[in-house]
């Protein structure tokens, strides 16, 4: 009896969300609710120029008219969101923007330490430059100096608006226009920060750029906006990670990410999303409504999305590629793991416009507990996309008989020289596989973790090394408690 209790406790322990603590930092918050004054307040706080405020207001006014147009086509079930019951701006109270890491509140730095991104260490170790976004505001960007010397602009969005208005004006909203969809429109109105990256012509960015997002305050929404521009012949790899404290209420995260790839450039965008998924009964957790889109504008440009989605109560996310330039290519690798009562509706869109454009989609969905995961994807070949090529593979794995796995691909081809291929399978971990691992001395959870990692390998191996290790661990943690 005691032994059983011990096991139960142990399982409970590991099941707990590792990143569920909160940091007590004084915050500067906007009043609760959403109206034009809040939009003005945010804009004023950020000391934005007039054109930015106008753009926000334009989006906000459109959003108001769309009240009944919240997308409902996804296979997701959640109560109606009260947009007035949330704070749209929360900034850690640190007064003036930090000049260097020494000025950053030590408590904040501690937070990131716990998250496993010790900024200082990062600065020492060669490799990753981190922009950390805490609630709504970017708190620190490492490696700025070194990147500056190379001509790479890597800073917070607010800073970019102030210091590189021409670039921002030219590209912001050019991939995801303010009228794109309900959540994107909301984001345009109230976005608070995010990362901005510009890689100049011909430069292969020597280090991985990375942003860490964290929602800390209660009842806040996080609306960040990321814009990455890879100029002709450049290359950049960008990583994004996210966590949030454990809370009973649901928090909204509606981000927009825009990528622009010009001639011969390449952008690699990797996400490990580990927002708080809610507890075993589906209480709390982040609503993750994200619009991510890349425009492969130039010839021979390439964009590669990799995502590992393990967190969030609800995921609504379709990183897409618009393949405009001839010979451009888009790739999408995704692992979506849902457990307990999580719901994920995620996939991609590949729009082929240019000649000889290529796209490849590898999506792996793993459902356990009482969760549901859906792959939803669109491959569209426009009439001028001579010789376009698409390959799609979607595999789903079900663990337990209370979960669901769904595949909803749309394939639209309007050019005979284009070739599209789609295949999807659904299966479960077979008893033989489990038995084999167990008779080699692995316990059932280790065995499942190993098998699932094998199932996801195609995707995980596309991640940069540091992330791949973290992702592999996450895969294991997310599925803990899913087998009895």
């Amino acid at each position: 009896m005691a032994a059983t209790q011990q096991t139960v406790d142990a399982v409970r322990d590991v099941e707990k969300y590792k990143y569920g603590w909160e940091t007590n930092i004084e915050s500067d918050m906007a009043p609760k609710g959403l109206n034009e004054d809040i939009v003005r307040f945010i804009s004023a706080k950020k000391e934005e120029p007039e054109w930015m405020l106008e753009w926000r207001l334009k989006a906000f006014r459109l959003w108001l008219t769309q009240e009944d147009q919240e997308p409902d086509w996804a296979k997701l079930d959640y109560p109606k969101i009260d947009y007035q019951d949330s704070y749209y701006y929360a900034a850690p109270n640190i007064g003036e923007g930090p000049k260097s890491l020494d000025e950053v509140d030590p408590k904040l730095l501690e937070t990131y330490d716990k998250l496993g991104i010790p900024l200082r260490e990062q600065e020492m170790l060669a490799g990753v430059a981190v922009d950390a976004v805490f609630d709504s505001v970017s708190v620190a960007t490492t490696y700025k100096k070194k990147l500056n010397e190379l001509g790479v602009i890597f800073c917070s969005m607010s800073e970019a608006i102030k210091e590189h208005p021409d670039l921002v004006k030219k590209y912001l909203g050019s991939v995801v226009p303010y009228s794109d969809n309900y959540f994107a429109t909301l984001n345009c109105a109230v976005f608070t920060d995010g990362s901005f990256v510009y890689v100049p012509k011909g430069l292969r960015c020597p280090m991985e750029l990375s942003t860490y997002f964290r929602i800390n305050e209660k009842n806040t929404g996080q609306f960040e906006r990321t814009l990455i521009i890879a100029d002709e012949g450049s290359y950049v790899s960008y990583l994004e990670g996210c966590t949030a404290p454990q809370r009973d209420e649901n928090q909204l995260h509606a981000a927009v990410v825009e990528l622009v790839a010009l001639d011969d450039s390449e952008i690699k965008y990797s996400t490990v999303q580990n927002w708080y998924p809610g507890d075993g009964d589906g209480k709390g957790g982040i609503y993750n409504f994200v619009t991510k889109r890349a425009a492969c504008r130039g010839k021979n440009s390439k964009v590669m999305w990799t995502q590992v989605e393990t967190g969030s109560a609800i995921t609504w996310k379709y990183p897409s590629c618009i393949l405009q330039g001839d010979n451009s290519s888009g790739e999408f690798y995704s692992v979506a793991i849902t457990n307990n009562r999580q719901q994920a509706d995620t996939g991609t869109k590949m729009i082929h416009l240019g000649k000889n454009t290529k796209s490849k989609i590898i999506a792996k969905g793993i459902s356990a507990g009482r969760s549901n995961s859906t792959y939803r994807g669109l491959v569209r070949i426009q009439p001028k996309a001579e010789g376009a090529r698409n390959f799609t593979q979607c595999d789903s794995l079900l663990i337990g008989n209370q979960c669901g796995a769904h595949t909803v691909p749309y394939i639209e081809s309007r050019n005979p020289t284009a070739q599209t291929e789609h295949e999807a399978t659904t299966s479960k971990i077979s008893d033989e596989q489990l038995f084999y691992c167990q008779q080699r001395g692995l316990n059932s959870e280790e065995a499942i973790s190993l098998i699932v990692n094998g199932f996801c390998k195609e995707v995980l191996q596309t991640l940069p090394m540091e992330f791949a290790v973290e992702a592999q661990k996450l895969v294991g943690i997310s599925l803990e408690g899913s087998v009895g």
Binding site: L398, G404, H406, E412, S413, H422, E423
Partner: protein
Amino acid sequence: MLASKRMKQLKAVKTMTARKLDVQMAFDDTYANAAGALPGAKESWVDGLRQTSRAILGANGIPGPKTEAWKYTSLNAVANTPFIPAKKVDDVDVSCIPLVAPILENAIKVVFVNGVFRGDLSDEFDDLGIGVALNPFSDVINSSPESLRNVLGSVMEPDKSFTAAMNTGFMEQGAVIHLASDVHLDRPVQFISIGASGSVPCAFHPRIEIVLEAGARATVVESHIGLPGQPYLSNSATEILLGERAVLNHYTTASEDSDAFHLGRTAVSVEKSAKYESFILSLSGRLVRREIQVRLEGDGAAATVDGAYGLSGKQHSDISSEILHLAPETISNQTIKGVLAGDTRGVFQGRIHVARDAQRTDGRQLHKALLLDRGPEVDCKPELEIYADDVQCAHGATTGEMNPEHIFYLMSRGIDEMTARALLVEGFLDDVVFKISNESARVLVLDMVKTWLAKQKILSVGEL
């Protein structure tokens, strides 16, 4: 800028409402007056079924692109054609029908012209043996409505499909087949539905009910054809109930007139260990949409839902299928192949649903489309919705043009390019047509495919 957008939205809402009303009025005016005279109207449950369906039509209007099931198929042309009920059409010349109708060898032919049963053109089917009952729908619903009480509308749900709602709201004539337990009907039954509008566009809604009791076996072919003239709307519905161990081979061909509209739906319930084999062939018609829903209700029920389409000119063809695995150890297999030329659009939507209890299910689906020239568009949405873990489900979809290496291979054997292309297209389609297990039906479908191929300019060769 904003104001104009808002105006646009308002306008959109307005036109939508207007369209709803139009549909309702059209239906009410032309049909509802006659509703009292429809067969079975005195039976309150039949009348209720019609009323409910018409209320659903009125409430939902004609589905537009925002309705997921109609995302790729627009009904604008149907909505804009002022159809009258077909039985008012009296200037139809039927003398050419034997020439145009695809005839199934050895079959019991049952002929409908504009949805009206024509005894003079049909075979005798009064005495088909013990346990076999084949009767006109209107006769059955008038004389022994109780026999249809648990059949009619049991799986053809008006709230799930516009096609079903329209048919159920206005169904008048058709046929009912009933096979008693363990009866095998050796001769196939062929329903031939002919559309012929004469001088005014007309619409008709034939209804077929097929009930096979436990262990019964039958083969049914539905041939939908048409005569040139004004456009007509053929809105057929076939409801099929298969008892335990029953086996039905059911083949539907649509080769409508090039101006005609065809909206048809098949709804099937398959009990324990029963087997349903079907094939849908869609070859001509301005707009042809075949919907099929198969419910695998009992352990070990199996279904094959194959099909092929060939499009040219300005055709639009849509095959929308839904296979519901509702019991353990059910099996479904689906292969759909399409060849597209000209300014056409081919649509395939296939959903496989596996319910929580349907463990050890096997579901396979494949859609392949071959694009022959620059005009066509193909839209495909194979969908898996799975709630049971111990399943094997897979689907695949491909689109593309003919492999130049295949053509080269044939040409290197001394075959000219046109013939090579024609052979490859024929082989591409035959592959699935050969899965039809009933021989005479297979021959019929093969012939129809060949005739279609021979008509295609892009493949035109002397002998095929």
